[in-house]
Amino acid sequence: MKIDHSLPLEYSTKQNGLNIFGFWVFLAAEIMLFATLFTSYFTLEHRVGSGPSGAEIFEITPVLIETLVLLTSSFTIGLGVHAMRIGNKKAMMTFFMVTLLLGLTFLGFEIFEFVHYVHIGAGLQVSAFTAILLTTLGTHGAHVTFGLFWGTAILLQLKKRGLTPETANKSFIFSLYWHFLDVVWIFIFSFIYLKGMM
């Protein structure tokens, strides 16, 4: 493959450019996916049947912690990509690892939250509201989980193969994905939790 050194490493081959562009299109599809979930959530939000409503089950503390943890991870992966741009592989890998650890923490809290919901009688099958709540949160959580495995795979490749046009490309695309999950979480935080608690 021809390598164009005038461009950042992650854009340096033709296929790299295609991959990044294609991933942006994929993210557009992901936006539609979450938009559909949010639309369904707003439709079913007050249709609680005999189950609890959002105001009855939401608790601010774990949600705030989740938010802080995830937003910090978006910052650290930004630092990671910056380190990649200046060619500092060690710093990059450290920041990516911190990102993944923060992601894992987030996931831990979310699993705890889910167990709690089921425990207090807000399981998946209780009402339309609980179903769409857990599905929307769960879809985001599943994306984070996938990201953890994906990020680990990229870290292993970085370690073994170093900073090549391919690994740089993968890392950059992964950072796009991770930022996107943060954006989705901001919407979840604002329009599911905060709105629900008001």
Binding site: G22, L33, T36, Q125, A128, A153, Q157
Partner: protein
């Protein structure tokens, strides 16, 4: 034994047992044939593992034709059942299953792969590219579609077909009213092939935006490429909506959630809305590529530039935007109030404006042209008046107040077949005839092709025009029979005859393929139609790398200009070409998806979980694999080029 009872057909009949035997015999025949002729290796190396957009296109084409047959048999059975009043040929359950599978097969597994076939085969050639942006993803798209289609068709012989209509409205599609696993098949099979469609969308957008030949600006792209771009933008926008809707439907059926149930807060109309937010744009996903094909064909056989290129592009973009704003017109009668109905009524009528622009552009392209009445051209010219009738009845249906008379009647059935058959099916057959020589190196026989066209057109009019009348008189769709007192009998008999005439047309097309394989001359050159765009500028058969030298483009008719105005298409010199490697992973991964889908249908959780792990293992394999593709050396290119030039 109890374990196996779930796989039994809930409503067996002689026809289903006969099909089981036929399917079994076909599978045995294919396996025996491949073994006897020692073709397993060839099949695996050249087709199952291929990432070549041309071969993938041909595989889409073959799948689409097989599914056309399956959906067509369903159609004939429906018309036969309705041919006379109080007919006992099929019972209500069987009829429900048939109209459901007819709809799903024709939309998802016939029309979609048919347009994908042309997108895959033609678009990279039209823009002067070597392949699509992500060749392996393209293979994955195809195999996901293929195994999705296989899963859906399996329902017929294992567990029972879906029977809640191709729209699968809840609560009818819920467990209470659809007890068999049929609707599980619907949810999961469409989910799997829908993932493939989404990937195709991402692939095609990237290819068209990023990989055009030098000089080909957006406004110099051939019209089919434009149609593909707009179509794929719609696909990426709306397929995720279907993904979510199907996931929710699956959860309602398998995990006991209450998204679309009538209890515990569930909302059945949410399904209807989500389904049509995808479903209405879906019909434009089908018709826009068809418009693109007509544009190519009409301009080629009128011997003129396409009239109003810019307005053609603009109208497609407007259609794509409007297509996402009309979904509620599918349920005007379901009580969302006068304001919503008026809004969706007006947006629906507005679509006829850009569509009208396109119709006039085609007519003006024909104006003063030296028209050659070839088979593709006949389909294109037949399309214009027939499609206009479908469009006009569409505007009738768009009037929400009047819709209370038409809703769910045969009038509606006549309308959408009147747009889909002359619109999409004619375009696919026109495109098939038009691109056949590029794909296979010989022409389809024109005389048989013309016979097929006339049978199809006349059969179509006979089959569907009577439905407008019976529909207005109140014949409901999806009713398996009617009494003699309704007076619908004679017109339904005409429809049945029309369906038979259409069947003859399809038989003629099959015969035409056979006849042409045997008798058509093979020395047709690279440009048998005297066409205008880049796909005709390379050899027939098209070499693996498409173009030995990257073409230079200066107009939307680059090849025509090179023939008539001395435009130099290939000014560069030969260089080694980078090509992607074949891979068996897309096939294997999609096969695992099939196992996953099948396990989910029957709630077999352990195999389902194992398959999910296996799917992720395939993705991990892809991530860690070192695959840099391969180069074709200048010497090899020269050898191929000399050989192909000699062949022509």
């Amino acid at each position: 034994m109890e374990f196996f009872q779930r796989f039994a057909i809930p409503n067996p009949s002689l026809a289903i047992y006969a099909s089981m035997v036929a399917i079994g015999l076909t599978v045995i025949a294919i396996i025996a044939g491949l073994t006897y002729f020692k073709k397993w290796g060839y099949l695996w190396r050249e087709w199952l593992t291929t990432v070549d957009h041309k071969r993938i296109g041909i595989m889409y084409l073959i799948s689409a034709l097989i599914m056309l047959f399956r959906g067509g048999v369903d159609a004939i059975m429906m018309r036969a059942q309705l041919a006379v009043p109080d007919n006992k040929l099929l019972d209500a359950q069987h009829y429900n299953e048939i109209f459901t599978t007819h709809g799903v097969v024709m939309v998802m597994f016939m029309a979609m792969p048919f347009i994908f076939a042309f997108m895959n085969y033609v678009v990279p050639l039209q823009i002067g590219a070597r392949d699509v942006a992500f060749p392996r993803l393209n293979a994955l798209s195809f195999w996901l579609f293929f195994f999705g289609a296989m899963l859906f068709n399996l329902s017929f012989v294992i567990g029972g077909s879906p029977d809640a209509g191709w729209t699968s409205y809840f609560p009818l599609a819920g467990n209470d009213f659809s007890e068999s696993v049929g609707t599980n098949y619907y949810m999961l099979a469409i989910q799997i092939s829908g993932l493939g469609s989404l990937m195709t969308g991402i692939n095609m957008i990237t290819t068209i935006i990023k990989m055009r030949a030098p000089g080909m600006t957006l406004m110099k792209m051939p019209m089919f490429t434009w149609a593909t771009l707009v179509t794929n933008l719609i696909m990426v926008t709306v397929f995720p909506v279907l993904t979510v809707a199907l996931a929710m439907g699956t959860m309602d059926r398998l995990f006991g959630t209450h998204f679309f149930a009538t209890t515990n807060g569930g909302m059945d109309m949410l399904w209807a809305n989500l389904f049509w937010v995808w479903g209405h744009p879906e019909v434009y996903i089908l018709i826009l590529p068809a418009f693109g094909i007509y544009s190519e064909i009409i301009s080629t056989f009128a011997g003129r530039n396409l009239y109003g290129y810019k307005s053609m592009v603009a109208s497609m973009v407007v259609i794509s935007a409007l297509s996402c704003m009309v979904w509620a017109h599918h349920f005007f009668t379901m009580g969302q109030g006068a304001l919503s109905n008026s809004f969706f009524s007006i947006t629906t009528m507005m679509i006829s404006v850009p569509t009208g622009v396109k119709i006039f552009n085609w007519l003006f392209t024909l104006w003063k042209g030296k028209i050659r009445f070839t088979v593709p051209m006949l389909y294109s010219i037949g399309f214009i008046p027939l499609f206009v009738i479908g469009g006009v009845t569409g505007v009738m249906l768009a009037m929400s107040a009047a819709d209370y008379q038409y809703h769910n009647t045969m009038f509606l059935v006549a309308h959408f077949h009147n747009t889909i058959i002359p619109g999409v099916v004619f375009a696919m057959l026109a495109g098939l005839t038009f691109y056949w020589p590029k794909m296979f190196g010989f022409m389809l026989n024109e005389r048989i092709g013309k016979w097929a066209f006339w049978f199809l057109s006349i059969g179509f009019c006979l089959a569907f025009f009577p439905m407008y009348i019976t529909g207005l008189d109140g014949q409901a769709r999806r009713m398996y029979t009617y009494s003699e007192a309704t007076g619908f009998g004679p017109l339904n008999m005409v429809s049945f005859v029309g369906a038979g005439v259409m069947a003859i047309a399809f038989a003629l097309i099959v015969y035409n393929v056979y006849y042409s394989v045997r008798y058509s001359p093979r020395n047709i050159g690279a440009d048998p139609w005297d066409a205008r765009s880049l796909e005709w500028a390379t050899h027939t058969p098209v070499p693996e790398y498409n173009f030995a030298i990257e073409p230079q483009v200066a107009s939307s008719q680059a090849f025509w200009d090179s023939k008539k105005k001395g435009h130099e298409l290939f000014p560069g010199k030969l260089e080694k070409i980078h090509m992607p490697n074949n891979s068996g992973v897309p096939f294997i991964m999609s096969a695992i998806f099939f196992v996953w889908g099948f396990s989910m249908v029957f709630s077999l959780w352990i195999p389902a979980i194992i398959s999910v792990i296996a799917i992720f293992a395939c993705m991990a394999h892809r991530s860690f694999e070192k695959d840099h593709g391969h180069y074709i050396s200048v010497k090899e290119i020269e050898e191929t080029e000399t050989k192909l030039r000699g062949a022509n």
